[in-house]
């Protein structure tokens, strides 16, 4: 005779080792968990609120320079090393983890105009107002030894911009013309000029490593191929471009920072009009740098703010400012996509988080899952007015706020006038010009 008893298979509930997590049986019957939309909405709202409350992007400031910081350079092989050059010719090397200066050297007389670390990270180049290009060893000299450059090249004119090739011992400078230098030679292997006599910056394309872009004082952006004897093309805009930066993941896109408060993203194959106009700054944009993922970029402006733009959005997703930060001259996005470094007029270098509300450090798996979930919820409900209202709120200093409002009024007035003119003139005689087309004067072959 068999007696039937309730029996369960222990395989279903006994852990194999004590390190396994306890198995929690769940019933996913939807009737047991009603109101999913409203519950998730509440969660999303709470997540958004917490994000805003925890948004504390400013990490620290590195002080030590005796003059405004004019240029920054990331180390190519070490995340914790940063180089900065100031307007009095001093170059400082910083340890970011300790947040202290590890080395100071008087590199030039006058401004340090540009600085770049060699692709292998063993040395770095500086250019200055004293018409010299200097190569320095990344290692600090031993005790009692003097700081001596490895190489010094005396140029004929002042250099204003510098960039190094991604894989070869070749670097480019700009000044009166764009020069390509071999590290082993004291004369440029190639120099490009095209009717302009002053360039403000030159940048190598990090993906298609032989291509370069430069910004000239005649409001133009000129593209070059290192292998060709002539420049490729140039586009002339309504106002001067200060710097440009290539997208490190998308070979043919670059973004340039313009004097007219905007940034423009171009496809280098179609220079007739930019792919995107990024507006939000209320003063000239001085520097721009892409995130290493190529999805966002950060811009520094004369209006004392730093803004982060998604690469294909017209407006910024984030604005950073502090009371003491003056005109931001140079900006860099760290190579691990986590931090932003800004150098400004008032001699400080500031370290920011790239995602303002992100928790730094190692996350526990559950923590990470929670973060992912709340992130998805925020994305899902981003169009809901209450959530949008909170997620998009940013504090702005008074003067920038008013300046922005003023600009809006001006823009609106201009737009109204244009529509009025159009209304009162022969149809078709006043064509509608899109914002993208407005800023390009011409493309020169």
């Amino acid at each position: 005779m068999k007696v039937k008893v309730l029996s369960r298979n222990p395989d279903d509930y006994v852990r194999e080792t004590k390190y396994d997590i306890q198995r929690v049986p769940r019933n996913y019957d939807p009737s047991l968990h009603p109101f999913e939309l409203s519950r998730e909405y509440t969660r999303a709202l709470n997540a958004t609120k917490l994000e805003r409350v925890f948004a504390k992007p400013f990490l620290s400031s590195l002080d030590g320079h005796r003059d405004g910081v004019n240029c920054l350079a990331k180390h190519t092989r070490s995340l914790s090393t940063l180089l900065s050059g100031s307007c009095d010719g001093v170059v400082k090397v910083w340890n970011l983890t300790k947040r202290e200066c590890v080395r100071t050297l008087q590199a030039h007389e006058g401004f340090v105009r540009g600085m770049v670390v060699r692709y292998c990270g063993s040395s770095f180049f500086t250019i200055g107002d004293d018409k010299t290009i200097k190569q320095w060893n990344m290692e600090a000299p031993g005790y009692g030894e003097e700081e001596e450059p490895l190489n010094t090249i005396l140029g004929k004119t002042v250099f204003t911009g510098l960039d190094h090739h991604q894989k070869k011992g070749v670097f480019a400078t700009c000044g009166q013309q764009v020069d390509i230098w071999d590290e082993q030679r004291s004369t440029p292997i190639r120099s490009f000029s095209w009717g302009v006599d002053s360039f403000s910056s030159v940048r190598f394309n990090p993906v298609e490593t032989e291509l370069l872009g430069s910004c000239a004082s005649d409001r133009s952006i000129v593209l070059y191929d290192m292998r060709e004897s002539t420049p490729l093309k140039k586009v002339i805009m309504t106002m001067r471009t200060n710097t440009l930066c290539w997208n490190p993941m998308e070979a043919y896109f670059f973004t340039c920072a313009n004097e007219d408060y905007n940034l423009y993203t171009y496809d280098m194959r179609y220079l007739e009009k930019p792919c995107k106009v990024h507006m939000d700054h209320v003063s000239a944009v001085l520097d721009v740098d892409y995130s290493p993922t190529g999805l966002e970029f950060v811009s520094a402006s004369f209006d004392k703010t730093v803004r982060i733009f998604p690469k294909d959005a017209g407006h910024s997703r984030e604005v950073y400012h502090t009371k003491r930060m003056q005109h931001v001259i140079c900006i860099k996005w760290s190579a691990d996509n986590k931090y932003i470094l800004s150098g400004s007029d008032e001699m400080n270098i500031r370290l920011w988080k790239a995602n303002a509300a992100e928790k730094l450090g190692v996350l526990a798996p559950r923590e990470r899952e929670a973060v992912n979930y709340s992130q998805k919820l925020k994305e899902k409900f981003q169009h809901y007015p209450q959530i949008k209202r909170i997620a998009r709120h940013r504090h702005l200093p008074k003067n920038i706020y008013h300046q922005r409002n003023e600009l809006r009024v001006m823009k609106e007035a201009r737009r109204r006038k244009e529509t009025n003119v159009r209304k009162h003139s022969k149809p078709g005689s006043v064509p509608v010009v899109s914002e993208k087309e407005k800023h390009v004067v011409s493309v020169v072959d």
Partner: protein
């Protein structure tokens, strides 16, 4: 022809002479030679040679003097002509007039034409046909060569060329870029080493045999073609593993498919038969089965005693089941009715007796020669499922419960296989017999086939689990995946919903430039204010945006009349409240005896309902609801406003009524009839709730094209309250994953190659699918 040659020779001489003497003389020589008329081919050649040599000495000086005289004469003549012009001093270079390569161009008739030179071409076989053609073409072409372009122009052309080159070169990245834009997840740095421990062979790869012993061993191994890295398979073994050819795999797949189809047919048939309501039919069926079984067992005892024993066990089990249930005792509804009828009806009496007999038969303790323990052991893992009554083993679906068997699952696979093989054999034997038997009429050959497949499959497993097991398993899982396709379906749908927003963007991308997709549109710009947020309370204090204000929905005036019409049409059916809602529902019969807690009891569900009824017995929900509804209706009715102001221009005091002329009341028009007028169980509120509209989306956000698309984003929840762990992980996958403390290098050329490989693989797989 002839004089061409002459000239050639002259040139040769000239070259020789020029080394010895001045240039003037040579010039004359040339002239003299050319002035000679052509006479005879060979003679002239010789004469020319001779003449040339002779003239050099004699007539050279005379002629030079003549020339000078002539010049003077000319000058004198020109001086006569009125104005005295001073001739400009001309400087001429000798090289222009004469050089070692060209003859004097001033002599018109003596000019060398290309055609002159061409003549010899045809006679000299050494000249290739190509040059000949080229020269002919040149001769025909009479155009002058264009003047060279200006420097600016050439530079522009060069720039254009260079730009074209660069643009095409850069366009190689198109596919990589679009792929990354569409990717669900991006992992940075790009060229990541896979996490976790690396396979040993990769670590060992750099290692070399150093000691002589090692070298010897390696030499031996390599000589015998033995592998020394993982996976340790000889080439022959590898070949045999690979030998599981496509055809074989296809055949197996087809087999599996057929088996599956047959199973589904069989199931459908069983279901159909089960659905037949006729009791008589089932009774007959059962009887036939039982008889057949008995016969079968008798036969089996002779042929296959083991199988017979199993059948007997089955019967024993059925008996046990019967003893436990009260199926054939006179307790059922049918039996009770029959008991009443039995007095009068012969048939009923008979039926009752029959039933009782069956009960006796079933509950009778059989004397089995088998030991109970043996029986338990013999119950195979596979046999158990169909032998045991369903209600005992309902919960056990997956692997057999080792704790029930009193054994631990030490080597479950082996045991199963071993068990399965003899059983399968017996089954197949039984199947063969069945066909001969009469009673097996209802069992179709489909079933037999099914079993055959089953046993064959098991045999396959037993044989090849060590060699080609993996492939087979893959097939199995594939089949399983196909079966469980339905369950996966909703998950897929969910991921589809997730990707809709992205999909919308993609469409946009396609229309505009590739890169110009807007993840966040223009409206998503930051709202920058002067307020700082420090706490959650600050967030609440943020001003609401004006767009959040609800817009009035378009009100249609036709609505009330329409409603009226509906009301009229419904009037005939007019639901009376009293009819529908009675308080009788509150009266609940409380079961006398407490209901059993056995969850397997089918009556439990009914009891559950009863339980709830009992729990809420006191609540008069319906009347509460009606009250609520009445209150809402009253609120909706127009209010009468009394506008009289007592005491103005009159006597005042208690008890005085205002005069009639002053008793003015304002009464607004009656509102349209309520929508829920005829619906007793529903309250329809037509007022808008402002507090809700504050949380609603009022206009279609940018990337979406229609409302349905937007709403589909919210159809499925993301949280783990509603989804399984795996789904949650899949759904909440972040778009960008970076590694902590790793430098993200810019995209390198290798990425392009990798992408190409991936694309090639995809296309090839697609092609192979198509070809199938």
């Amino acid at each position: 022809m002839a004089h061409v040659r002459v000239r050639c020779s002259v040139i040769c001489i000239m070259a020789k002479v020029s080394k010895k003497k001045g240039s003037k003389k040579i010039k004359k020589v040339v002239m003299s030679v050319e002035e000679q008329p052509p006479v005879n081919e060979e003679e002239e050649e010789e004469a020319g040679m001779a003449g040339a040599e002779g003239d050099i000495g004699s007539s050279g000086e005379d002629e030079g003097e003549d020339e000078r005289k002539r010049q003077k004469l000319l000058q004198a003549i020109s001086a006569l002509g009125g104005k005295r012009k001073k001739a400009l001093g001309e400087r001429s270079e000798a090289a222009v007039d004469m050089s070692e390569f060209s003859v004097n161009p001033e002599d018109g008739p003596g000019k060398v034409q290309l055609s002159d030179l061409m003549g010899t071409l045809e006679k000299t076989p050494a000249v290739p046909a190509k040059t000949r053609k080229l020269l002919e073409n040149l001769q025909r072409n009479k155009k002058t060569v264009d003047s060279p372009l200006s420097k600016q122009e050439t530079e522009r052309i060069q720039r254009g060329m260079a730009f074209q080159k660069a643009a095409t070169e850069v366009s190689r990245w198109d596919s990589v870029i679009t792929q990354n834009q569409r990717a669900e997840q991006l992992l940075f740095p790009l060229n990541q080493e896979p996490a976790g421990p690396r396979p040993i062979e990769r670590l060992v790869a750099g290692w070399k045999a150093q000691t002589p012993l090692e070298q010897e061993v390696f030499a031996l191994l390599s000589a015998n073609k033995q592998p020394f890295t993982d996976p340790i398979l000889t080439p022959a073994e590898e070949a045999s593993v690979k030998a599981m050819s496509l055809e074989e795999a296809k055949i197996r797949r087809a087999e599996l498919q057929k088996a599956r189809a047959l199973q589904s047919y069989y199931e459908a048939k069983a279901r159909r038969e089960k659905k037949i309501k006729s009791k008589k039919y089932h009774k007959v069926q059962n009887k036939v089965k039982r008889k057949g079984l008995l016969k079968h067992i008798e036969q089996m005892i002779k042929t296959d005693p083991a199988a017979a024993m199993q059948e007997l066990n089955k019967m024993e089990l059925a008996r046990m089941q019967e003893r436990m249930s009260l199926k054939h005792q006179n307790s059922s509804k049918w039996a009770k009715s029959k008991a009443i009828m039995a007095k009068y009806d012969e048939e009923a009496r008979k039926a009752m007796q029959q039933q009782l007999e069956m009960n006796r038969e079933l509950t009778q303790k059989l004397v089995t020669p088998l030991n109970e323990e043996e029986e338990e052991e013999e119950e195979g893992a596979a046999g158990e499922a169909d032998v045991l009554p369903d209600f005992v083993n309902d919960a056990v679906d997956g692997p057999p419960n080792p704790w029930m068997k009193g054994k631990l699952t030490e080597e479950p696979t082996k045991e199963q296989v071993n068990d399965a093989a003899p059983e399968a054999a017996s089954v197949s034997a039984a199947a063969a017999e069945e066909e001969e038997e009469e009673w097996a009429a209802d069992k179709t050959e489909e079933e037999a086939l099914l079993r055959e497949f089953d046993c064959r499959r098991k045999r396959h497993q037993a044989q090849e689990s060590d060699t080609a097991g993996s492939i087979f398993q893959e097939e199995m899982t594939e089949a399983a995946a196909e079966d469980s396709g339905a369950s996966d379906c909703d998950e897929e749908a969910r991921s589809e919903f997730r990707s809709i927003s992205r999909g919308g963007e993609e469409g946009f991308k396609a229309t505009e430039a590739v890169n110009c997709a807007d993840r966040t549109d223009e409206s998503a710009q930051l709202e920058e204010r002067l307020i700082r947020i420090r706490t959650v309370e600050d967030l609440e204090r943020l001003p609401h945006e004006p767009s959040a204000e609800p817009r009035d929905p378009p009100t249609t005036k036709a609505q009330p009349s329409e409603e009226k019409r509906v009301g009229k049409s419904k009037k005939k059916k007019g639901i009376e409240l009293k009819e529908v809602l009675t308080k009788n529902t509150n009266i609940i019969k409380v079961p006398l005896a407490p209901t059993g807690t056995d969850s397997e009891d089918p009556e439990a569900k009914v009891d559950q309902k009863g339980l709830i009824k009992e729990a809420f017995a006191g609540d008069d929900v319906i009347s509460d609801f009606l009250k609520d509804k009445r209150r809402q209706e009253d609120e909706g009715k127009p209010k009468v406003i009394d506008l009289t102001l007592p005491g103005w221009g009159e006597w005042g005091g208690l008890g005085l009524k205002p005069p009639k002329r002053k008793r003015r009341k304002v009464r607004s028009a009656p509102p349209p009839p309520r929508k829920d007028q005829r619906l007793p169980t529903v309250i329809i509120t037509e007022k808008k709730n402002a507090s809700i509209s504050l949380h609603q989306v009022h206009s279609l956000p940018f990337p979406f094209e229609n409302h349905a698309q937007f709403e589909s984003c919210f159809r499925s929840p993301l949280g783990r309250t509603w989804n399984t762990e795996r789904t949650v992980k899949k759904v909440t996958k972040p778009r960008v994953v970076t590694q902590m403390g790793a430098i993200i290098d810019p995209m390198a050329e290798e990425e392009l190659l990798r992408n190409k490989d991936a694309v090639a693989r995809e296309t090839s797989s697609v092609n192979s699918k198509k070809s199938r």
